[in-house]
């Protein structure tokens, strides 16, 4: 019964968050686009390609942050068997995959004019590519079994093992010689970016965060409905009475 009680109560909170996330996304995106395309200077070395950063960095941040969410959910799934944890992880994984891809693609679009190459096998780029494969592996593994829910545990273990990659991504620019620029926002001596460029960057970071929250609520609702369907079907194939029992617990 607790399988249902939690998600249903959670849905109420999530639905209350949805208008704020959507509104925040629209407003921050509008402001962020205005600043990143019109009202920010071009870089003295990079010219206007610096504007790619306002998409690239928020995408990279979401890619890593969503992986952290999946790893946290996987941990609570394995330890406490929290019913929401597997749903949050399932709902988040494709979003993280897409943003990892967007990060790599926009990085390439910046690398071609600035480095003269679409791709180099250096530590930052390679560790981000590994993140992409971790996402893909997680999604494939969690859907690899015919019996629904069977893949959750192995996928959770994969997600936790993959956490090793996160500090490698973060510190790759310090540990290895790389073409990728070093950390310029989160560092001990404060940001080294001009404040005119920080404004659009933080607006876009906020917009992307709201976008993820908005998608998370929508995708969680989908996952919760899908899991109700799965449970009803499993119960329906057994005793009919058991099905209605599950349903009463859910309604």
């Amino acid at each position: 019964m607790h399988r249902f009680a939690n998600p249903t109560r959670f849905l109420k909170i999530a639905n209350a968050v949805l208008p704020f996330a959507t509104g925040g996304f629209v407003i921050l995106l509008g402001l962020g686009l205005y600043y990143s395309l019109f009202n920010s200077p071009s870089d003295y070395q990079q010219g206007d390609t610096v504007r790619i950063m306002y998409i690239h960095v928020p995408a990279a941040y979401l890619a890593v942050m969503i992986y952290g969410v999946i790893a946290g959910s996987s941990l609570s799934l394995l330890i406490w068997k929290h019913p929401l944890a597997e749903l949050i992880a399932r709902a988040s994984a494709p979003v993280g995959l897409i943003f990892t891809f967007l990060c790599l693609a926009t990085g390439s679009l910046w690398g071609k004019p600035m480095w003269g190459t679409w791709w180099v096998w250096d530590a930052r780029l390679t560790s981000m590519l590994i993140l992409l494969f971790l996402y893909a592996g997680y999604i494939a593994l969690s859907n690899a079994f015919d019996e629904p829910g069977r893949g959750n545990k192995p996928a959770a273990i994969l997600a936790l093992v993959g956490v090793v990659n996160l500090p490698i991504i973060k510190f790759s620019v310090d540990w290895w010689n790389t073409l990728h620029q070093p950390a310029s926002i989160i560092r001990m001596d404060g940001p080294t970016i001009a404040s005119e460029m920080l404004t659009p960057l933080f607006l876009m970071l906020g917009a992307f965060t709201c976008f993820y929250l908005m998608l998370l609520v929508i995708r969680l609702r989908s996952e919760i409905a899908a899991s109700k369907l799965r449970i009803a079907m499993m119960a329906g194939s057994g005793a009919a009475g058991a099905g209605s029992e599950f349903e009463r617990a859910g309604g």
Binding site: G47, I52, L102, A105, T106, L215, R219
Partner: protein, 80 residues
């Protein structure tokens, strides 16, 4: 205006970047909303058909309920 679109000669890299971001984000929203609507509709249909079946089951066997109260009555009668 054309200067703005030229992006200092880097238009070929900057606009695809923003365009790609727009495309994947729109696709994410569309796919997520679609699957939510589909799953919630299926779940609602299932719930509706289940409760209809439960009503049908509850209606015709009217004898099961009175029979219990009847037996209770007979017990009371027996005690009296």
């Amino acid at each position: 205006m054309s200067e703005f679109f030229a992006m200092g000669g880097h238009a070929a890299f900057i606009w695809p970047c923003y365009g790609l971001a727009a495309i994947v984000m729109i696709l994410l929203v569309v796919q997520s909303l679609r699957s939510m609507r589909m799953n919630e509709k299926l779940a609602e249909n299932l719930r509706a058909s289940r409760s209809r079946r439960r009503e049908q089951r509850a209606d015709p066997p009217a004898h099961s309920h009175p029979a219990q109260s009847g037996s209770g009555q007979s017990e009371m009668e027996a005690e009296a």
